[in-house]
Symmetry: C2
């Protein structure tokens, strides 16, 4: 079973990586971007026996720093479709 | 308009970060995890005038290294729901 975990910085937490990406986009003349926030995407391949509660525990214990980060869990049967 | 971009390593590309997370999960006694792949999640706040093609260009020019990475674009009106 494929599980995707999205880890994002909480609102108000400074994000220098996102800021750097934003500036880079501007210097490449991409207009219309008002802000960029950088986060993490973790794709786990887990046994179907693993419960959502267990995945939640993995996130709060290891995968996300809940002081400054939020996480979101998405269960999916298939992996990402490649774009190219 | 909120745009989420998922950047993941292509199949076959070594992922030491994912491996380290996998080992860490095992050493914390989480069973049933067969593999972990680490990627990036970028949340862009863009003007509605920005087209999908333009976002695609941002990805291929700056946000993803298409030699070793795939990317996926998701348009959404709202940001991530905080879990806590």
């Amino acid at each position: 079973m494929k599980v995707r975990i999205f880890v994002t910085l909480k609102d108000g937490v400074l994000d220098p990586q996102g800021k750097a990406i934003h500036h880079a986009l501007e210097s490449l003349d991409f207009a219309g971007v008002n802000g960029v926030r950088a986060g993490k995407l973790l794709e786990l391949d887990v046994d179907p026996s693993v419960s959502r509660e267990e995945i939640d525990k993995m996130c709060s214990k290891l995968l996300a720093n809940t002081v400054i980060e939020n996480y979101e869990i998405e269960l999916a049967e298939t992996a990402l479709e490649p774009n190219s």
